[in-house]
């Protein structure tokens, strides 16, 4: 997890676009300025960042399903639940599913586990928006390679 860059996924371990399913590993860093404030003397992974882990994992899957024709911007979080505390060094296993591909939007469901226990889940809404810059889109290929996401395979 590159927390300072807000890039939460370390690597994808499964991407099955046909099954609309992706699984990723997100390892919480041991050190981060985030933990200096959240909380002093009790470093705890913020719940909103667990939501972000789920949103990014599922977002990559939405991108693949839509052929990387637009950026899946997180637009809604429903039934978001933070079920357990997550600490520096913890390894999260995130599973994202796309349950509906609409016109210009997609709905996903995601959940996260740590040490075998459920830690978070949510239903996520994405708007698919045109890439605001070519730089962003081309930057995705390098990012995808780093996290083991087969992006070019699905790019239209």
């Amino acid at each position: 997890m590159r927390l300072e860059y807000f890039q939460m996924v370390d690597r994808f371990v499964e991407v099955d676009v046909g099954a609309r399913l992706a699984r990723a590993i997100c390892t919480v860093p041991m050190q981060s300025t985030v933990f200096e404030g959240h909380f002093p003397g009790y470093p705890l992974m913020p719940g909103v960042l667990l939501i972000e882990c789920m949103a990014q994992t599922t977002g990559w899957l939405v991108s693949a399903l839509t052929g990387f024709t637009g950026l899946p911007a997180l637009a809604g979080v429903k039934e978001g639940k933070i079920r357990a505390a997550v600490f520096p060094g913890d390894v999260l296993e995130i599973e994202g599913r796309v349950i509906h591909e609409g016109s210009g939007y997609a709905i996903g469901e995601a959940k996260g586990r740590c040490k075998g226990a459920a830690v978070c889940d949510a239903t996520l809404t994405y708007r698919i928006i045109p890439y605001p810059s070519e730089e962003l889109r081309t930057g995705l290929w390098e990012w995808a390679e780093r996290i083991n996401f087969p992006a070019k395979e699905f790019a239209k």
């Binding site: 637009a75 809604g76 509906h100 591909e101 609409g102 016109s103 210009g104 939007y105 709905i107 809404t125 708007r127």
Partner: protein, 93 residues
């Protein structure tokens, strides 16, 4: 047997917490019912699921932006229901 409008009105009432009696065939989803674009995504999702269709929101938005259509054609509920019926018919064709 409930009509397309009845189903759509129920979806809007439930999704947006709007009293059912305020939702009329002549209501404009945006101008009268004040449904914003994000809530409309929830409505579209529910409509897609309920009718087994895919509302072509991107195409409609493009047409409105290009001046080829008005929002009334897609967002006045009786018109929206006509579009839904057309999509259902096209699916079965």
């Amino acid at each position: 047997m409930s009509t397309t409008f009845d189903k759509v009105a129920e979806i809007i009432a439930e999704t947006c917490d709007i009293p059912r009696e305020n939702i009329k065939p002549e209501s404009h989803a945006i101008n009268d019912l004040e449904i914003d674009s994000l809530d409309f995504l929830d409505i579209a999702f529910a409509i897609d699921k309920a009718f087994g269709i895919k509302l072509p929101l991107e195409q409609w938005t493009q047409e409105v932006n290009d001046g080829k259509a008005t929002t009334d054609q897609y967002f006045v509920l009786k018109n929206l229901c006509e579009r839904i019926d057309e999509l259902i018919a096209a699916k079965g064709a």
